[in-house]
């Protein structure tokens, strides 16, 4: 195997092991925490199924018996782990639908929203960062700093409402809420994207300024390379080594942090699923959602590692000393 191939394999193996560890830890913790919550789980599940107007002790007892909630906790957890090993996530306690189907549906929603928001943040932020770095302290740089401060200061909930008022209620261009079509994705993505773009712009600017001042960029200029190629081949690529891990972190934050925006725009995503699962004590859905989120973080981190390795193929410390 080439040293580069070995490096990729190393990253993947390390992350895979991490994934298994995180999955185990998260699902056990999730189960234990839900069991420690106050209140009768059977009652909450019955209320989730039938609405609490219709739920009394008898209905709760019937749910308890149906789901075996009176069994010892370790038995319930053991059953879940056994099913998980067979790649069976079970059925939702509330809706009785397969958990994989439910969580899969919400996961697609979240990924769509997060990806579009991230692209928006990247295009806006990186573009502004590169422009600002051309003349540190110049007008564009100062405008960018103003943008960073203002978008960070507006809470997504407020920004979302403002966007709905302008683009939906006043101009009638886009639907205020909805899920499933491209038009209804625009406003939630616009709510999330600009907020993130501020920091992306900041990080890009600093990275570009630093790279621009480096000797290899000066050398590229000296050897007569056109400005466009200097930026594309040397500045952007080297700045990306800093930016990509940062975007990875933002992706993770996005995936976990879209609850408010999802609820504001009635967008069906994992945040929505998590809130319902906690409220209704739907342990299998909660465990599966937490599991998916945890694994997603591992996947994003892996992608970042691989991407950085590709962007910056210089031998790593271990290989260099070999």
């Amino acid at each position: 195997m080439t040293p580069r191939g070995a490096a990729y394999a190393g990253v993947l193996a390390r992350r895979a092991a991490q994934g298994v560890g995180v999955a185990g830890l998260v699902s056990v913790l999730c189960f234990l925490i839900v069991h420690r919550l106050p209140g009768d789980a059977a009652y909450r599940i019955a209320a989730g199924r039938y609405g609490y107007d219709l739920v009394d002790e008898e209905a709760a007892a019937s749910v308890r018996a149906e789901l075996g909630l009176d069994r010892p906790a370790w038995q319930q957890l053991g059953d879940w782990v056994l099913d998980l090993v067979q790649l069976d996530l079970g059925r939702s306690l509330v809706t009785s639908r397969p958990v994989a189907e439910e969580v899969g549906y919400y996961l697609v929603g979240t990924l769509q929203l997060a990806a579009v928001a991230l692209v928006l943040a990247f295009v806006l932020g990186a573009g502004m960062g590169v422009a600002a770095a051309r003349r540190p302290g110049g007008l564009v740089d100062r405008l960018a700093t103003g943008w960073v401060a203002s978008v960070r200061a507006v809470p997504p909930f407020l920004l979302g409402l403002m966007l709905v008022v302008v683009f939906s209620a006043q101009l009638g261009l886009l639907p205020a809420v909805g899920h499933g079509d491209a038009a209804s994705l625009v406003l939630p993505a616009l709510t999330l994207g600009p907020g993130l773009s501020g920091l992306v712009a900041r990080i890009t600017r600093d990275a570009v300024v630093e790279v621009r001042a480096s000797e290899y960029v000066q050398f590229a200029h000296t050897k007569g390379l056109a400005e466009r190629w200097v930026v594309l081949r040397h500045v952007v690529r080297n700045a990306a080594v800093v930016l990509v891990p940062y975007l990875g972190v933002q992706a993770v934050i996005l995936i976990e942090g879209v609850v408010v925006v999802e609820s504001l725009f009635a967008w069906q995503g994992l945040g929505h699923a998590l809130v319902h699962a906690v409220f209704w004590r739907d342990v299998p859905v909660l465990q599966a959602t937490a599991l998916v989120l945890a694994l997603l973080i591992v996947v994003v981190n892996t992608a970042v590692d691989v991407l950085v390795l590709w962007l910056d193929p210089r031998p790593r410390r271990l290989e260099a000393t070999r």
Binding site: A47, L118, G180, V236, W310
Partner: protein, 516 residues
């Protein structure tokens, strides 16, 4: 050095693909067509089982029950055209409507009805589970219920959405509903749980075709978003607006508010066997301490929602002429003094060296409850009662009832889950107590009146019995009423004929017309 694929290009490609997949997975047509009635409300549909989220499908008139109720709450024919009981009230026969067809083209048969109703009876949360059914059988063109003891409320219970009749093909081998195949004027064309449902007028419908041919329903959780949809013509009927949203709609053109009082009361459930609360004078004092009008005005933004008695005036038969519950703190203090409570330290009354301190439990499922609980806390402090408010899980209330530790609970109780409030009243005032009703309180007059109502009899005797129940509860206050509820909807001027059904049996879409 090899030039990498510019990162922005790669990311943009991924985003474009994801967006396209978003378009592909969509099942809702973005801007509704001219002839589609667009409904938005807070109701998410997580399950197709009639006992779970079946109310959305009966409201959308996709599925039907044997009996339904009219706008006055009176029983009306549904899938059964008429019904009768044996002289002893233990055998009920429901004659099915002729030529009713399920949306899959199969005929409505008595066997299909028996299958659906038996499934409902097996679900503990369905009101039908409370009916002492021995057997349900198909009998020619009718369905017969045999009961182990007389129950005159059966037709009313059969108005409940959990008893909706679906086609046999709607169920899978395990008995789970996979598709809502009903008999109503509308059939489901698209369904994306939990938030969107589209229906169209069914060619199988036995009656006249409705003027509104297509309906789309969208669940929207945030009330702010719903209000914006109402004022920007993105929905024709929007349910469940909060006070700020109502004001927004009232100030907008092309949309109006419709409302009706819901048969639901916010009340304090009292442990009548408690050392402090067992004294009727203390319960009356707590009631007199409350400034219900200010509380309703501040929290529900409508002074008229202050409860003057247990049940709202919309339940006419259960709303006799009684002295309204009002605030009178002086009398409250006198009553507490009579009950042996005297000035103590820190403004809290004391008896035998012990402070007049109580705990009230409530739950956040309805956001107004914690707010009202703290208003009650402040009102009681003014007459020397120290109230601790615990906002917790709603299951703590039945748990506290079961182990006897509950003192006070602030709950929002619906009194007409089936069309006849008697079913809920009988449960609420059960002598042994009820999770969402009285605790350690019974009164022989009330028990006798309920038994007499359940056994039938003349209307004049029934009216007297109803008054006995409400008046006794009004005087002894095992449940202290606080406020009533109003449900509302913003309705676009595109639509005519909208009527708000207080029991929400259906949304009466077949009565709607497009404005000319």
């Amino acid at each position: 050095m090899r030039s990498p694929l510019p990162l922005p290009t790669a990311v943009a490609v991924v985003a474009a693909l994801l967006t396209l997949s978003a378009c592909g997975s969509g099942s809702r047509d973005g801007a509704a067509a001219e002839d589609t009635l667009r409904i938005a409300g807070p109701f998410e549909v997580h399950s197709l089982e009639p006992a779970a989220d079946g109310e959305v499908f009966t409201r959308l008139q996709v599925s039907e029950t044997l009996v339904t109720s009219d706008i006055e709450g009176e029983l009306a024919p549904g899938l059964a055209t008429e019904w009768s009981s044996s002289a002893d009230g233990t055998e009920w026969s429901f004659e099915l409507v002729e030529d009713a067809t399920f949306h899959d083209g199969s005929a409505l048969t008595p066997d299909a009805v028996v299958e659906a109703v038996e499934r409902a009876a097996a679900v503990e949360a369905s009101p039908l589970a409370e009916v002492p059914i021995e057997q349900i059988e198909a009998d020619g063109s009718s369905v017969t219920f045999r009961l182990s003891r007389p129950d005159l409320t059966l037709p009313a219970v059969l108005t409940h959405y959990s008893t909706a009749v679906l086609a046999p093909a709607a169920y899978d081998a395990d008995g789970h509903v996979t598709e809502v195949i009903g008999t109503g004027p509308y059939e489901v064309t698209e369904l994306e749980l939990p938030a969107s449902i589209s229906t169209t007028a069914s060619p199988e419908w036995r009656g006249e075709q409705p003027a509104v041919a297509k309906v789309s329903f969208q669940a929207v959780g945030r009330p702010e978003s719903r209000a914006l949809m109402a004022v920007s013509d993105q929905a024709d009927v929007v349910f469940g607006l909060e006070p700020a949203g109502r004001e927004q709609v009232e100030g907008a053109d092309g949309v109006r508010m419709e409302s009706s009082l819901q048969p639901r009361t916010i009340l304090m459930k009292v442990n009548a066997d408690h050392p402090i609360l067992g004294d009727e004078r203390v319960r009356r004092a707590l009631s007199l301490a409350l400034d219900r009008e200010s509380m309703a005005d501040a929290v529900l933004r409508e002074e008229e929602l202050a409860a003057t008695q247990l049940l709202p005036p919309s339940l006419t038969a259960w709303h006799p002429d009684l002295e309204p519950l009002t605030q009178d703190q002086d009398t409250a203090r006198d009553l507490l003094r009579e009950a042996g409570w005297s000035e103590g330290s820190g403004g809290v009354l004391e008896r035998d060296g012990k402070p007049l301190a109580l705990t009230l439990i409530t739950y956040p499922d309805r956001p107004e409850l914690p707010a009202l609980a703290t208003a009650i806390q402040a009102a009681l402090a003014q007459v020397g009662v120290r109230l601790e408010v615990e906002v917790t899980n709603s299951s703590e209330i039945p748990a506290g009832q079961a182990d006897g530790t509950l003192e006070l609970a602030l709950i929002a109780k619906h009194f007409a889950l089936v069309s006849d409030p008697l079913v809920d009243i009988a449960a609420v005032f059960a002598p042994e107590g009820n999770d969402w009703g009285v605790m350690n309180w019974h009164d022989d007059r009330v028990t006798r009146a309920i038994d007499a109502l359940l056994a039938g009899g003349s209307e004049s005797a029934a009216a007297k019995n109803r008054e006995t129940i409400v008046r006794t509860a009004h005087e002894e206050l095992p449940l202290i009423p606080v406020a009533w509820y109003r449900m509302n909807a913003a309705v676009s001027d595109r639509v005519e004929g909208f009527v708000m059904d207080p029991l929400e049996t259906t949304w009466r879409l077949t009565d709607l017309q497009w404005a000319s």
